[in-house]
Structure formats: structure tokens, C-alpha cells
């Protein structure tokens, strides 16, 4: 797992949303830890419930995610799919990519190399 981010300090989580046409680009920064997963899920579902066809999750600055955080992504994916939308993940670091592979979530979240390629999708 070359490139694994340093797990210390336990960085705070931040998310910033930018609307790009019918897509929302969500930049996730820091660590999705146990205290912020509910907040993350609420925000992602709120975005999916808006007339947003595609949700792009930029993970390039994400250092950690727990299973509840992965669950928040899955919940957004399921709701989005019901509404004929899509959720795409971009540039997870090797440690988080490995988690997607271990959990087989890579099947529903094949990582995109950049926000632009994710916007162009599928």
C-alpha cells in the first residue's frame, strides 16, 4: 500500500460542493471517521434528492474512511440509481482503493482518474 496517508493526526473532515451543470462535484478532505458518517450520509442524500443527475466524489484529499463512511456512499448510490442518476468516485488513494477492492465496492464504484473523466463518464 505505497502512498498510505499518515493516520496521525486524526484530521478533521471537510466537504465542499460545486455544481457543474447537472452534476455535483463533492470534494472530500481529511478523514471520514465514526463521528462524521451520519453527517456525510445526510449531505450526500440531500444532494442526490436535488435534481442532480450525477454525484462526483473527489477523494483525492481523503485520508481515511471507515465502513460507515463506505455505507454512506452506498446509500447515496442506491438512492441515486433509483432516480436514474449516478455516483462516481475519483482518485481514491491506494489505501482507500484497496478498501473498495476488499469490500468489492469497486464493482459499483470503479474509480475514475479525474473529475473531468468522471463528468464525461460512464
Amino acid at each position: 500500500m505505497a502512498g498510505t496517508p499518515d493516520p496521525l493526526p486524526l484530521t478533521d473532515f471537510q466537504m465542499a460542493v460545486e455544481q457543474k451543470g447537472e452534476a455535483a462535484v463533492v470534494r472530500l478532505t481529511g478523514a471520514v471517521h465514526m463521528e462524521v458518517c451520519d453527517q456525510l450520509q445526510k449531505e450526500l442524500l440531500r444532494l442526490v434528492d436535488r435534481p442532480t443527475r450525477t454525484l462526483i466524489l473527489d477523494m483525492s484529499q481523503l485520508t481515511f474512511i471507515c465502513s460507515l463512511g463506505l455505507g454512506a456512499l452506498v446509500a447515496a448510490y442506491v438512492r441515486s440509481r433509483r432516480q436514474k442518476g449516478a455516483v462516481r468516485v475519483v482518485s481514491p488513494d491506494p489505501a482507500i482503493r484497496a478498501m473498495l477492492e476488499v469490500t468489492k465496492l469497486v464493482q459499483i464504484f470503479p474509480p475514475y482518474e479525474s473529475v473531468d473523466t468522471a463528468l464525461a463518464g460512464p
Binding site: M1, T4, M34, T103
Partner: protein
């Protein structure tokens, strides 16, 4: 047979309220010890992930998010391995009955991945007979 028997005492023991903020503080304390003992970032990532899963399970499933209940974390982090135990006040569960979250019919469920992740990232994950205490072992790397 676990590498460290459950009845063997561990040098550090912290009892916290069943609360996620308190749980994170314990997590940080454990990670600082792994850093001090020279564990690699990959190893520390695995320990952080697994400890987080164990603490969340204790809080949510064991103690049912009841802040009046306690979570006990015992640990020994030495130059050979990290041994961490997390226990709750719940009635326990049978870890053999937890379904595989990677099978096609469960892949789109939002939860159920914690135990599988712990098993994937650690050298050993063992439950007490009652099922309300888990022992996590990670060899130093």
C-alpha cells in the same frame, strides 16, 4: 487458539462512556503508541480502521447507543505486535452468523462491512465466548 489468551491481562485499560467522541480519543491514544513504537503507516492504517470498526460495533450494536453504558478498551502495543480488546455491555452475538457483505445480494446494503474489514486487515480477530468482546491482533510491520 488466539495468540494472546483472553484471560491474559493487558497493561493499558480505559473505560469510556458509550460515546463516539470518547471512542475517538481512545483511538488517537492507541495510534500515538503505534507511532511511538515505529509501526509503519500501512500497519497504523489497518489498526485504526479495525479499532474504529470494533468501537462502532460496541457502541451501536452492543450498547445500542446508550451513553449510560460503557465500552472498555484494553491494549498492549509493543515492538512485536498490537493486541487490543474492545468490550461492551451488550448480550453479545455469534460472529459466525454475520453474512458475507461482498455477495451480490448484499453489496448494495449500507452496512455489515465492519467485521469483514477487521478480518481483512488484521492477523487475528477473536471473539469471547459470549460475543461481547473482540480481540484484535496486528503483527508489527
Amino acid at each position: 487458539m488466539p495468540v494472546v489468551p483472553f484471560d491474559q491481562a493487558l497493561p493499558h485499560r480505559i473505560v469510556i462512556a458509550s460515546d463516539l467522541h470518547a471512542a475517538r480519543q481512545v483511538e488517537e491514544q492507541v495510534l500515538r503508541l503505534t507511532e511511538a513504537k515505529g509501526y509503519s503507516k500501512e500497519c497504523a492504517f489497518a489498526i485504526r480502521l479495525s479499532l474504529e470498526e470494533a468501537l462502532v460495533n460496541a457502541h451501536r450494536h452492543g450498547n445500542r447507543c446508550d451513553a449510560a453504558k460503557k465500552i472498555t478498551v484494553s491494549f498492549r502495543i509493543d515492538r512485536r505486535r498490537a493486541v487490543i480488546r474492545v468490550s461492551d455491555e451488550g448480550s453479545g452475538f455469534d460472529p459466525c452468523c454475520v453474512p458475507d457483505p461482498t455477495c451480490p445480494e448484499r453489496i448494495c446494503l449500507p452496512n455489515g462491512r465492519g467485521i469483514m474489514l477487521m478480518r481483512s486487515y488484521l492477523d487475528e480477530v477473536t471473539y469471547s465466548p459470549r460475543g461481547n468482546e473482540v480481540q484484535l491482533v496486528k503483527e508489527r510491520c
